[in-house]
Symmetry: D2
């Protein structure tokens, strides 16, 4: 990780925008990207800035939270992807929502009276705090990192701060407790977004992200949309309606589908979607964070699609059957 520019001019380094400052969960997600190592990491204040950096060429890619975020902004991110052209998701990353309680060196847990914390993070650690620091008071912080930085800088009166574990990589802080979030299984899903480019090659464990508007609002339109996937044996791992906002009762759907655009069944489903809907936004095909191999009925394999095309070609040419 290197927030400062590289000394050598060649090759030119790439820039990655992310919700900063250093130490956020988003930075932890970026830390999972091998290609981002030793490149320029550009902290920004929100998802809109991160995506605008990409579109306006200030960054090569942006890491943004897309599901279950504790840093906020998920529906903002979905709406931005639906309305900003020229973007492509190229990777997915999962970060456990795993808070730590940190303090200046020398401070002990029993000394803690005032806890700095972003209000959302604070709400997620209430059970632990009630059990272990029943007498504490809360000092609101502007972000999950600002809570700890205030302590380091000495500008905060807090005795301890709630922060992501990554904070310990950046600041000289003492770990008082870890895993203090009330939900030990909470995970935030992030995606890495670049400008439009060919998708990464299929790995067998891929996901395709789409945003699709219904052609018109009638009972059954949604069904017709989803049939495009079901009739090709494609499972969805995310489906969410979002009001489009231009007229009452108009919706777009945010969709993650199992598989890659280079899989025959996915390509065929995309053709069907495009014919069905006035607006299909292809956000990209990319490896799933969980590396789970996509399973599907044999009748939807590439071979079956290719064989069917050969068969049709034979029919049309009028060759006698073999």
């Amino acid at each position: 990780m290197s927030p400062e520019p590289a000394a050598t001019p060649h090759p030119p380094r790439r820039t990655y925008s992310y919700l900063g400052p250093a130490g956020t969960f988003t930075e932890a997600a970026l830390g999972q990207v091998p290609e981002a190592r030793d490149q320029i990491w550009r902290p920004v204040r929100n998802v809109g800035e991160a995506l605008a950096d990409v579109v306006e060429m200030r960054a090569d890619a942006a890491m943004i939270a897309i599901e279950n975020s504790v840093d906020g902004g998920v529906s903002t991110a979905q709406d931005a992807l639906a309305t900003m052209p020229g973007l492509r998701i190229v990777g997915e990353y999962l970060v456990p929502v795993n808070f730590v309680l940190v303090a200046r060196p020398g401070v002990r847990l029993e000394d803690v009276e005032l806890v700095a914390a972003h209000p959302v993070a604070y709400a997620q650690c209430l059970q632990w705090l009630s059990a272990h620091l029943p007498e504490h008071a809360h000092l609101p912080a502007a972000s999950n990192v600002a809570s700890a930085v205030g302590i380091v800088d000495g500008i905060s009166d807090a005795d301890a701060a709630i922060a992501p574990p990554g904070i310990l990589d950046h600041y000289d802080l003492e770990l008082l407790a870890k895993g203090i979030g009330d939900n030990p299984n909470a995970v935030t899903r992030f995606v890495l977004v670049s400008r439009t480019a060919p998708s990464p090659a299929p790995t067998g464990a891929d996901k395709t992200s789409l945003i699709v508007e219904l052609p018109e609002e009638y009972p059954g339109a949604l069904l017709e949309l989803l049939e495009q996937f079901a009739t090709r044996g494609i499972n969805l791992s995310l489906l969410a309606s979002r009001p489009i906002g231009d007229a009452l009762g108009r919706y777009r759907f945010v969709i993650d589908a199992d598989g890659h655009v280079q899989d025959e069944r996915m390509a065929d489903a995309l053709l069907g979607l495009r014919r069905f809907s006035p607006k299909v936004i292809y956000l990209g095909s990319y490896p799933r964070a969980d590396r789970q191999i996509v399973r599907y009925p044999e009748r939807y394999s590439d071979d079956v699609f290719i064989e069917a095309r050969d068969w049709l070609r034979g029919l049309i040419s009028g060759e006698p059957e073999a």
Copy 2:
């Protein structure tokens, strides 16, 4: 029409098999085929012989009844098309089921006591006979033509015969009454069958005939079959289940779908069928007898299919959107 072989060797004449003898409704259907004029017409005894003539190269094409036949054999014809490989339907023809009462010259209607008729034709003229010849008796005939030929030859005791109108083109007979069938709207549908060959070019008023086996018997399998058409805006004009006969509860479906295999939506539906079913028999795309232009929602036009493919190609290549 020329039942006898042609004298000139060039060009070689084509042979058409049909349910004979001359004068049947099937011959009337063949009379609608411009290309069959001045070629060899080969009368046979049943559908099986007609199709075998084609497969075994004794004929170039066969005319067979496929729906509402009064000459019989429709389900035999469907089953034969399902099991004999190497055949292709190339045309469709409609013949009104329009019986005449004929007699030797000089015979008057009031003289008629014994009426020769194929039993099926006889049953279809019962109302007319009861009204106009209440005292008549029935002499069964082997076919709709044999009834009249017996009179001409003098080997039949009948005073009159029920026959198709075409009989008057072949024999010196007197027309006693026409349109004597009980159902004035009855029409038999015929198809012209050749060996496998490229289908006639699309006319905009085409039909595609298929026989499809369900992959396995479960509630919903039929639905999935029909979705292949519905999700491409394709109407069906014929749908009939036929037990396959190899195991209880296994069916094949005889299908006529509006459109031509060279229409994008039909080609796409055939690909879907082929992937869905272990056995799809393409019997051919050919002009509809009624010349009715096929109508379909604009979203299933060729343009939309082509545009969607271009769009997908752009996506995969990673080009920025226009």
Copy 3:
């Protein structure tokens, strides 16, 4: 079996109309009906007469061929059921299409030169005749029974006749050969039709017959019709389109569905059909001829329907869940 009226006046005997005369396949079907024993059997000339007998109270029930008939008239039967109100199918019977060759006592197979046969039956025995009587000639008969009766009466010149096996129960004839039909598995399906009445009680091996018109012709209307069955786990054993005849492109569908109207899933499907279509004709629920128990996924059992209704009632009443 008793074609003549019974001597005792009490209880009043029931009348069954069937395609006669005695000896037809239809009579064989009627012979399978235990309740018809010792009742009045009324031979008629065609399906229309048989059904009219029921509607106009001349008969209590009629036996008619409904699938794969060699006596003809299947589509006539379907159309009649679609248009004559007040009828109900109460039973299903299967009769093998099993022809015999019969002659006057003393005649030997090698003596046979002229064979009397209904033309349709004759066509179905051609292979056997070619193999065993290659030199024979055909004398057309008006029906499968008339062929044999002519021999018995001496008014026919034929040496032998093709007839159903039942002929031997009625006439003093010698069996020259049996099983002479070309397709040893051919079976005709018959139904027994009464006036509207409660359906026979469910047996677990039942069938429900329906005729349904599509509400309007659009791609997908048929699909919606069939979904009514598929979404309740109901299999179809017969599905056939029939043009209605009142306007181009309008169809009705002849349907046999597995199950009984008193099965919850079938009742629910009928409700769905009725809401969907302007015209649903319920022809009846009755035991299947093959006594095959109807199988369906557990989630469509009566229990599940009843439980769901209880659950909904609880919801609406606002009772806390158990």
Copy 4:
């Protein structure tokens, strides 16, 4: 509105829990409930506490944000409704996300240097702040109300606070600017939740909220779920997948459907859902906040359902048709 207990003992007053303190958007939603006037309003710290108050009888109802909340906690609310039994949504309320900038009396906009704000609200006013207070600094606050309370109490160094408009009803503060949020159309959707009870009577403009688990994960299961609505002409205004969390790839769906459980088509859809899914949570039918009359095809009206039931009853009884 009356945070203090009522003086008169009769009738007993009802208690409403809401995300406090006084002045939040949630309180503004509660202000829209006529029945809540002059009752006890109980401020709590999060959605979990609010719903627990209802279940454990400390409150009669709770107001919670369910969509587009700026106070946070939407997915928490959805998950809580999915897992806490005994709850029922009885009303829906919309509150514009409409921030104000407030200060102690006498402070002028040009004097403001330090702005107290909950970090999420702060992020939503960034554009306005950049334009009007480019030199300001941010003082994080624990909530949208705490920001302003700190100013009133004098314990905050901030010159001004970002807060909901409702703050002005509770505290002696000066309005420096209103409508300062970056998205002028932002609206938060709230629902009022009681213990299980009969739903409010249908108004014609109703909504039914459900949470449904898929029975098992297979392509097409979701489709089958949604067919339950589409085949009864029911539109959805919200559909969102949520991972159940007990096993990979298992989902529940949060659904808002147009109509009331006492509408025939909705009752029928609920029956279908219950038969389809192992777990259907009915959260309630209640008037839509936007009072938009629900429209649906005539064929799904109550009359059609009732007529179909009468028809079926007639069929089963075997009465001749009228």
